[in-house]
C-alpha cells in the first residue's frame, strides 16, 4: 500500500509515493532520488542521515515518511546555491574535515541547524550539536574547527 506524500525538498515541491511505514531516508534516496542523504545504522544511532525538517535537525531513518507531508526538508544536496558553496561547505574543505566523506552530509546538516539558530556558537555549542553524529575517520577536531570557521566567516561577512 503506497501513500502519496507532498513536501518541500530544498525549496522545491516534491510528491512521492511512500510505502506505508517507510522512513524518510528510504523515500528520499530510493523514491525521490536524493542520494546526498546517507544511511549508516537505520536505527538512529549514527547521525549520517541527518536532515533538517522545518529547520530542526532530524534523523531521517527514524522519521515516518508520511509524517512530513506539507513540511520543508533540507538536505546536503540543497546546501549549494547554484555554483556557490555554503560557508559550511567551504569551511569543511579548507579544514580538510572529511576523509571517507560518508558522515559528511549528516555533519553538515547538524552544523547548519546549529548555525541557523546560533550564528556565534562556542566550541561547546558545536560539540553539543555534533554529539549525535559519528565520524570514524577524522577524530572530530577538523569538523569542530570547520563549523567554528564557518560561523566566524559569516560574522565577518555581516560585519
Amino acid at each position: 500500500m503506497k501513500t502519496p506524500v507532498q513536501f518541500r525538498l530544498n525549496g522545491e515541491d516534491v510528491a512521492a509515493f511512500a510505502e506505508s511505514g517507510a522512513n524518510l531516508l528510504d523515500v528520499l534516496r530510493e523514491v525521490v532520488g536524493d542520494l546526498s542523504v546517507k544511511g549508516g545504522c537505520w536505527q538512529g544511532s549514527c547521525g549520517a542521515c541527518t536532515v533538517l525538517i522545518d529547520g530542526a535537525p532530524r534523523l531521517s531513518c527514524l522519521t515516518l515518511a508520511e509524517s512530513i507531508a506539507g513540511r520543508s526538508i533540507e538536505t546536503a544536496a540543497g546546501l549549494r546555491r547554484g555554483a556557490e558553496l555554503h560557508p559550511l561547505q567551504i569551511a569543511f574543505m579548507e579544514r580538510f574535515a572529511a576523509q571517507c566523506g560518508y558522515c559528511t552530509s549528516g555533519m553538515l546538516m547538524a552544523a547548519k541547524a546549529l548555525l541557523d539558530r546560533n550564528p556565534s556558537p562556542t566550541r561547546e555549542d558545536v560539540v553539543e550539536a555534533l554529539g549525535g553524529n559519528i565520524c570514524r575517520c577524522t577524530g572530530y577536531e577538523p569538523i569542530i574547527q570547520a563549523v567554528l570557521d564557518a560561523a566566524s566567516g559569516d560574522r565577518r561577512r555581516r560585519a
Binding site: 546526498s36 559550511l88 571517507c100 552530509s105
Partner: protein
C-alpha cells in the same frame, strides 16, 4: 598543531619538488561536501531485489533440518538460496595467494561454527519482505560444545571448531601449529639478566565500525556479465574470490567501487559479493545485499583478539638482553587473514629494539566466535601494546627514564634484526627525541645526541669507545664511526643533566648469533661516557 621537521634528515632528501609536499586539496573533497561522492549504494537501479541472510543463533551446532517452505511462499519472496546452490561452497580468502586451505563455506552445510554464521539467503522485493520471510524459516539444531578461549582451544579434548583444521590451529610449513622465531639464546639471556619480567597481555576484539556498512549490488548486464557495485577495500581480491565461489570466469564480473565509506580492514573479507552475485544469477534481476548495523557490529568480521605473553631479561644498565614472546591470535571459526597476521607479528618481534636474544611462538587459533580479520595495524597493534607496556615496566624496574630506556635499546642502521635482516633507514631515536622535546620531557645530554644512523651517537668517538668491544669484522658499519657525525637538529640548550643512578660496570653483553652485526658496543659507548 602540526609541524614538518624538515631540518631532520635534510641531507637524505631532495626537496626540490613542485607538487609533492604541497597541501593540495583532496580530489574527492568537493564531492564529499556536496553529497555527490558516489558510494556503492548510490546507484538507482530499477527492479532492485534485496538479499538477507538467516544466521545461526548458536555458536556451535549441527543443523538437523531446515524448513523454508513457508518462507518461500511469503509475500515478495523471489528465491531462497541454500548451501547446495553455492557452486563452490568452500573457500579461504588467501587461496588467491596460495596460503592455507579452503575452510569456510559461504552458507553453512551441516554445522554452524559461530553465532551469526550464514545458513540460507532470501531474495525478496524489499529488505523488509526478506527479513519477514527469514522469520518463517524453521531450523532445528543439535547444539555442540563450543570453545571461546584460545588457550582452552589448544587443550586435549577441546571441541574441534574447524573441520579443515581439526586441532584448532592453523598449520605452518606443513608441520607446525605455530610460527617460530629463534634468534640467539634467550635462556642464556635470562640467566644473565639482572631483572626478568614476564607478563600477560590481552587485546580486545574491535569492531571496525565504518559509518558505511559492508554491502554490494549485482546487476545482470548484457552479454551475460554482471556489474557489481561494491564497498570492498580490494577490488580484484573481491572479484576473484566471488568468481571462484560462483565458478564463473573472472571476466564475467565487472566490479565498480573505489569510493568507500570507511573500511579500516573490515571490507577486505568479501562478505557480501559472492552471495549477491549468486542471487542475481539465480533470479536474473539486480540484487542488493547490505549489512544492517547490527549485522556489521555482530557478524561482520572484527579485529581479532590476541593474547600475548612477554618475558624479558634486562640488565641494570638498561640493556634488554632477551625477549621471549608466546602469542595466540583468536581467528574465530575460520581462517580469513589471521594466519597471515601471525607471520607479520613474528616479523615484528622483538619490536623496534636491538635485542641479541629473541624467541617467539605465535599461534593462529580457531574458536567458536565470529571470524576475525584485518584491522588497522593487523598483527602488530596488540603486540605493540604488549611490548610498549612491557618497556615501561622494565624502565621502572631498573629505575631508568622510559624514553631514555627506549632510545638506548632502539634499533639503528646496520643492526641485525631478529628476523635476520639488517636494519636500515631507522628513525625511532629521532622520533623519541622530537616528541620528548615537544612535550618538555627532559632527556639527558647523551640521549639527545644519539642518532639512528651508523655510529649511533654524536659523542661516540669523542667519548672514547671501549675498543675491546669494538665491532667484529662482521659489522664494518660500526667501525665507520669515524665518519662525520651529525647532530640531528638544533636543540635548545640542554638542562643540567640529572645525575645518573649509581650503577656498576655493565656486565659483558651476551654473545650475538654468528654473523650478527648486532652488538653491545654502542651501549658501552654510552656507559663508557658515564663511567668517565
Amino acid at each position: 598543531m602540526f609541524e614538518l621537521r624538515k631540518d631532520i634528515f635534510a641531507d637524505e632528501r631532495d626537496d626540490n619538488l613542485k607538487e609533492i609536499g604541497q597541501p593540495t586539496q583532496r580530489q574527492d573533497m568537493l564531492g564529499h561536501v556536496t553529497g555527490t561522492s558516489t558510494y556503492y549504494d548510490d546507484h538507482r537501479i530499477a527492479g532492485l531485489l534485496h538479499l538477507k541472510v538467516l544466521r545461526s543463533p548458536h555458536a556451535h551446532a549441527r543443523i538437523r533440518s531446515i524448513d523454508d517452505a513457508a518462507a518461500a511462499r511469503a509475500p515478495g519472496v523471489k528465491r531462497i538460496i541454500r548451501a547446495a546452490d553455492v557452486p563452490v561452497n568452500l573457500n579461504t580468502l588467501l587461496s588467491l595467494i596460495q596460503f592455507g586451505k579452503d575452510d569456510e563455506p559461504s552458507l553453512a552445510n551441516d554445522i554452524v561454527r559461530y553465532k551469526g554464521e550464514p545458513i540460507l539467503g532470501i531474495v525478496a522485493t524489499s529488505e523488509r519482505a526478506a527479513i519477514e520471510a527469514l522469520g518463517l524459516v524453521r531450523v532445528s539444531y543439535d547444539q555442540l560444545p563450543a570453545v571461546f578461549d584460545v588457550e582452552e582451544a589448544l587443550k586435549p579434548g577441546a571441541p574441534s571448531v574447524n573441520a579443515t583444521y581439526p586441532k584448532n590451529t592453523f598449520e605452518y610449513h606443513g608441520k607446525y601449529d605455530h610460527q617460530k622465531l629463534r634468534y640467539g639464546d634467550v635462556e642464556a639471556g635470562f640467566a644473565q639478566a639482572d631483572v626478568v619480567l614476564e607478563e600477560r597481555y590481552q587485546m580486545s576484539p574491535i569492531e571496525h565500525a565504518p559509518v558505511e556498512t559492508n554491502g554490494s549490488i549485482a546487476v545482470p548486464d548484457t552479454n551475460g556479465r554482471f556489474v557489481v557495485y561494491t564497498s570492498t577495500q580490494a577490488l580484484f581480491f573481491s572479484l576473484d574470490t566471488a568468481a571462484k565461489i560462483n565458478a564463473v570466469p573472472s571476466n564475467q564480473l565487472h566490479f565498480i567501487g573505489g569510493t568507500v565509506g570507511g573500511g579500516f580492514g573490515g571490507k577486505v573479507d568479501t562478505m557480501t559479493e559472492p552471495l549477491v552475485i549468486l542471487a542475481a544469477r539465480l533470479t536474473g534481476a539486480p540484487v542488493r545485499y547490505r549489512f544492517s548495523r547490527h549485522e556489521e557490529m555482530q557478524f561482520g568480521a572484527p579485529r581479532g583478539a590476541e593474547r600475548i605473553y612477554v618475558k624479558d631479561g634486562v640488565m641494570r644498565d638498561g640493556r634488554i638482553v632477551a625477549r621471549k614472546v608466546r602469542a595466540y591470535f583468536d581467528s574465530g571459526a575460520y581462517t580469513r587473514l589471521s594466519s597471515y597476521a601471525v607471520v607479520k607479528c613474528v616479523a615484528h618481534i622483538p619490536g623496534p629494539y636491538t635485542i641479541p636474544n629473541a624467541h617467539a611462538d605465535v599461534y593462529c587459533v580457531f574458536t567458536n566466535r565470529t571470524p576475525a580479520t584485518a584491522m588497522r595495524g593487523f598483527g602488530v597493534t596488540a603486540l605493540d601494546f604488549a611490548l610498549e607496556c612491557q618497556m615501561d615496566k622494565l624502565a621502572v624496574a631498573i629505575g631508568m627514564d622510559p624514553i631514555e630506556f627506549r632510545i638506548l635499546n632502539a634499533y639503528r642502521d646496520g643492526d641485525m634484526k631478529a628476523h635476520r635482516r639488517e636494519a636500515k633507514n631507522c628513525a625511532l631515536i629521532e622520533c623519541a627525541q622530537v616528541a620528548a622535546e615537544k612535550a618538555n620531557w627532559p632527556l639527558r645530554e647523551q640521549f639527545r645526541r644519539m642518532s639512528s644512523r651508523i655510529g649511533g651517537g654524536a659523542d661516540r668517538t669523542a667519548a672514547g669507545v671501549d675498543r675491546s668491544r669494538a665491532p667484529t669484522p662482521a659489522a664494518p658499519a660500526r667501525t665507520a664511526a669515524a665518519a662525520p657525525q651529525r647532530v640531528a637538529y638544533e636543540r635548545p640548550a640542554p638542562p643540567a643533566p640529572t645525575p645518573p643512578p649509581a650503577r656498576g660496570a655493565p656486565p659483558p653483553p651476551p654473545s650475538p648469533p654468528a654473523g650478527s652485526t648486532h652488538g653491545a658496543p654502542r651501549f658501552s659507548s654510552v656507559f663508557g661516557t658515564r663511567r668517565r
